[in-house]
Amino acid sequence: MERFVETFLKLSVITSIWPKILDGMLITVELGIVVVISGLALGLVLALVRTAQIRPVNAIIVVCVDVLRAVPPLVMVLIVYFGLPNVGLTLPSFAVLWLVLALVLAAFAEEIFWAGILSVRRGQWDAARSTGLSFIETLAFVVLPQTVRMVLPPLVNRTIAITKNTALGTVIGVPELLNQATTQVSFLSNATPLTMAAIGYLIIFVPVVLFGNWLEQRYAFRKA
């Protein structure tokens, strides 16, 4: 037991490296925020474009979304990070991770928004249009408000799962939480930084998970 505490919760390690862990947390949060905002925005825009029913455009969206859903994000991160410099385009690792995760989130969000839009009954569209609302107005004031409430729980769960992938940044050297911790582990030959990182992730994500649970219950209540 003592050995475990010494290995995973050594006080002297905690007091000496907490600023570094905090720096890492900050970068994880920053990355998370930009990924969530850009990913959800792009996903919503794609779903809206799909409602215009332009066949070739829809086909392209569906294919891209499927690819982004089927290929592991770590594979894409490695392709972009190690491939692009050889063709003369060097992106900082933070930007690579942002780009990949935002695209993946956009793909999943598009699917969820689209399913939500489809689930709004045809009659709602017809009624709104016949009262003189334009297509865009119908979408914005009648269909989307109903969609958002319906898609919120799955959207939040998916968003958490994808945002957690910011930890993949450690593989390409983004100085985020996990990266800071593994660096310290190899400096200090002690696992305490990893425990601190795990706790850091819990501090960041547990509130979001609880928010998701709350949404789900609220949603279930409305359905009943």
Binding site: T7, V71, P72, V87, L194, L202, V209
Partner: protein, 221 residues
């Protein structure tokens, strides 16, 4: 354009990397066949535990589920693989991956299965019990089959997520598909092997992605 093709779709590099990648693919399949059933069984047990009469068990399982949903799987894996040796517990990569995946995907499959079980009306339980089935038989032959059917889209898409997630095993130098591809990349200074690995994942998982989204839309309408 030619530079792009040469860097990302270099056929001769891909050809040379193919044997290595195929071996990696075998390991990825083995991993999937191990961690997906493990996670599904774990998740079913988790979902059943949430129905337990013992409040402590219910609450513990619930807290653990939320913790493992909040913790990135890569953090869990590195904690197990690189953290435990400092305490004298040395695991091989395969075991470490299995433990990490069991903890992570039991939580996710557990949430899906719970939703499935909750979707079954109480009348089903009562009817099954009144025909003389035991509690265990009721769960196994009446509740679970219907629960699985009701949440099939989520089960399929969660399985895709788990299969994709096996790629993080490369970080603990498990010689699966992505690890082999990345090794080939660092030997050839060319990203084509990783693109090829991506294509393998695509071929493997695209049918499931299509299936999931078709099932989802059918339920939605």
């Amino acid at each position: 354009m030619e530079a792009l093709l040469d860097q990302f779709f270099n056929v001769s590099v891909m050809e040379r990397a193919l044997p290595l990648l195929l071996r990696g693919l075998g390991m990825t399949l083995l991993l999937c066949l191990t961690v997906i059933p493990l996670g599904f069984i774990g998740g079913t047990l988790v979902a059943l535990a949430r129905l337990s009469r013992v409040a402590t068990l219910r609450v513990t399982i619930r807290v653990l589920t939320d913790l493992f949903r909040a913790l990135p799987p890569l953090v869990l894996l590195i904690l197990i693989y690189s953290g435990l040796p400092f305490a004298g517990i040395r695991l091989n990569p395969f075991t470490a991956v299995c433990i990490a995946f069991f903890l992570n995907s039991s939580a996710y499959y557990g949430e899906v299965m719970r939703a499935g079980i909750e979707s079954i009306g109480f009348g089903q339980w009562e009817a099954a019990r009144s025909t003389g089935l035991s509690g265990r038989d009721t769960v196994a032959f009446v509740i679970l089959p219907q629960a699985v059917r009701n949440v099939l889209p989520d089960l399929v898409s969660n399985t895709v997520e788990v299969a994709k997630l096996t790629s993080i095993a490369s970080v603990v130098s498990m010689t699966e598909l992505l690890y082999s591809a990345d090794m080939a990349r660092s030997l050839t200074f060319n990203a084509s092997p990783v693109v090829l690995a991506g294509l393998f994942y695509l071929v493997l998982l695209w049918p499931l992605v299509r299936l999931a989204s078709r099932l989802e839309h059918r339920v939605g309408t």
